[in-house]
Symmetry: C2
């Protein structure tokens, strides 16, 4: 219920957890009294910078579908709660991508490196009870357009066809390549919809080549460096942040075994199999499986060669088990969803396949709202 | 509760379903009255041959973890309810394997073919309330022994080390090859434990070769044709059949992506990768994934070449979706368990990955008892 005041129990639970896990931050009793009074007076309460930062880390730690949680403490949180105009929001998103991809390299700077992808979350203003809020309509900050062609085929990413059509209705014109970066669509209650093209220099991309097969480069494939989910609501201590885009680095299979491989996405397995000269007349030649492996080798190879951070599913699976061990040492269970944690290829060849997980919806967390689907 | 009389509600539900789905079999009211009286008098009731046959088919249809259910109507049920001595049971199991593997070819017979694997279930005597029952201690009718070697390594199937040790304590001596077929251990309340070697001619096996790589044959690998699960209890209409071994044909990944590949089974990915000359110094070369695909190609190729029925995971996944469509046309939901239905390799490259399933425990069904684990 969007009109209801902030839930006190959830606020209290979060504040107690924050203080319990961070003994240095002072007396929880005083803070609880303060928040209680603030909710009574205004219907909600404002997080301190430290609270919202730690809350975002907890949301990541609680993300049951995420295999990448070993480094949850390292999340870099950008406080954009004061951004209100579409342009301020847009500027914040651009800065997010710069920091996340290490494209903000300045001459002489050694602090960051182009391609050194960092986990970043930008937190924009919270939803206030009964009030409309700002949002971004893209599902990720960087996505490739999809165009339905006259012959019924799709150019680009089929998952983005509807969104692309909306952008075109709003006046956007893509180059009609298979990899046109979509504009951002930012909406605020006061200013309505605004469309922005992303500056090229913050959209780090990797052209795909294969460690063995020269012809692979001729396929003209590429993918972007930073998967930044923009359509999930972050909920911390009873407060909803409808705009809180976050990113990690890619696990190769997300690109090579899903985005480029799924039959309803770029559907490249038949193309790669054809170039490999595989016998596709029977499933028992396992041509799909062979093409899948080569496509994924190409992804990992290309990102490594370009100096763009990426991990493979074997490494990330081992890290996730290390995460579970560390959490258990800290006396905590790791909520996890088997069907999301197990990678989409070679499932049983990774150690995360061979066990059960604790299934739980713990808060803080991320939620995909119906509206955003 | 083993001592309780047969549950009337479950009996009634099954009988009504059996009659509803088979309108030709006559009046359910009369049969219900009969069964009700029988339970009142004896504590349980006896299934007709048609009931137990259809009940076994329903148990297969309800097996949420099984991707192979399209052909549930074709299950061949062998009625062994009158077998009581260990030798009678053993003879029934041997006959099961003969029929299942098509090894019962007689000179001049064209009815069956060696390697034409058929789905078969043998139903032995039901458990009577409060009475001990016969059982087979093997988890599958055909399994390879596992031996712990003095150097700590394992020869054969590590999953069978404990069972193999028990067999050795009972006087069995294996050849100490990686693929020694284990004896059957049959126990009846009146006669105790009896151990039987399986006649070689009913254990159809396939030596593994690779369609491209000659060296593959040198690995000396093989696997058996018929996966016959022996340790699950079949429950039909409130009646438990503790001994009801069943088999289908293999889906290749069960052998190539689990039995031969799992780190705690034959663990062959490093061996195959080594022979392939892959760079195993980094996970990002995807050497595990490449070895996995070649191992699975070898399995499918070898079974096909030997004329032993097998299917690949792409074909079986497509069939399963066809099964769901057919069942829906018949007005039924298909209970299914995503994490078992999705194959252990190339998950997202099969259509069963990209959907949700109806999760339900419907009866009749198969159950793995604690004791048997
Ligand atoms: C640091 C590197 C990271 C890696 C390698 C990683 C890996 C993954 C992978 C492979 C998935 C499944 C994606 C899919 O199948 O569609 C996933 C999902 C998810 N991750 Fe991570 N992740 C990382 C960082 C993060 C960060 C920084 C956050 C949030 C602060 C996060 C939150 C989530 C959430 C909420 C999901 C579920 C997404 C959904 O429901 O569609 N992850 N992650
Ligand atoms: C006809 C060909 C068949 C195929 C290709 C097939 C395929 C499979 C596969 C791949 C699994 C998962 C195995 C694993 O991951 O360990 C499975 C499980 C199962 N199948 Fe089938 N199956 C077939 C026939 C049958 C038959 C005839 C029955 C019973 C009458 C049956 C009942 C089951 C059950 C109960 C399980 C779960 C086993 C467990 O809990 O370990 N299947 N099947």
């Amino acid at each position: 219920d969007r009109d209801a005041p902030t839930d006190w129990d959830e606020a209290e639970e979060f504040l107690r957890q924050y203080h319990a896990e961070n003994p240095g931050v002072g007396d929880v009793t005083a803070r609880l009294a303060e928040v209680r009074a603030e909710i009574a007076a205004t219907g909600t309460y404002e997080h301190t910078l430290d609270e919202v930062t730690y809350g975002a880390k907890l949301a990541w730690r609680n993300a049951s579908r995420c295999i990448g949680r070993l480094y949850w403490r390292s999340l870099h949180v950008l406080d954009r709660r004061s951004a209100t105009t579409p342009h301020e929001i847009y500027a914040g998103l651009v800065r997010h991508l710069e920091i996340a991809s290490g494209t903000d390299v300045r001459p002489g700077s050694r602090a960051v490196r182009r391609g050194a992808v960092r986990p970043v979350l930008s937190v924009f203003a919270p939803a206030k009870p009964g009030r409309p809020f700002a949002r971004v309509w893209n599902d990720q900050l960087i996505r490739y357009a999809g165009y339905r062609m006259p012959d019924g085929a799709t150019l680009g990413d089929p998952a983005q066809v509807d969104f692309t059509e909306s952008m075109e209705l709003l006046g956007w014109k893509g180059q009609k390549t298979p990899f046109d970066v979509l504009p951002l669509l930012v909406e605020t209650p006061e200013h309505g919809m605004h469309m922005y093209d992303l500056p090229q220099n913050v959209v780090l991309e990797v052209p795909l080549t294969h460690p063995e097969f020269g012809w692979f480069a001729e396929l003209g494939l590429r993918w972007y460096a930073v998967p930044a989910i923009a359509n999930q609501r972050l909920r911390i201590g009873g407060v909803d942040y409808p705009l809180a885009p976050f990113n990690g680095w890619y696990m190769g299979t997300e690109i090579g075994a899903r985005n480029l491989a799924d039959a309803d996405r770029y559907n490249l397995l038949p193309v790669v199999a054809d170039r490999l000269g595989l016998d596709t007349s029977s499933e028992t030649t396992l041509w799909r499986d062979r093409a899948l492996v080569e496509l994924n080798r190409a992804v990992l190879h290309s990102y490594e060669r370009a100096g763009v951070k990426i991990t493979d599913h074997h490494t990330e699976a081992a890290r996730f088990l290390e995460h579970i061990r560390r959490e258990q040492r800290a006396g905590r269970e790791v909520p996890a969803d088997w069907s999301w944690i197990v990678p989409p290829m070679s499932g049983a060849a990774t150690p995360v396949f061979h066990r059960y997980y604790h299934e739980a919806d713990q808060r803080p967390n991320f939620y995909l709202d119906e509206e955003a689907r």
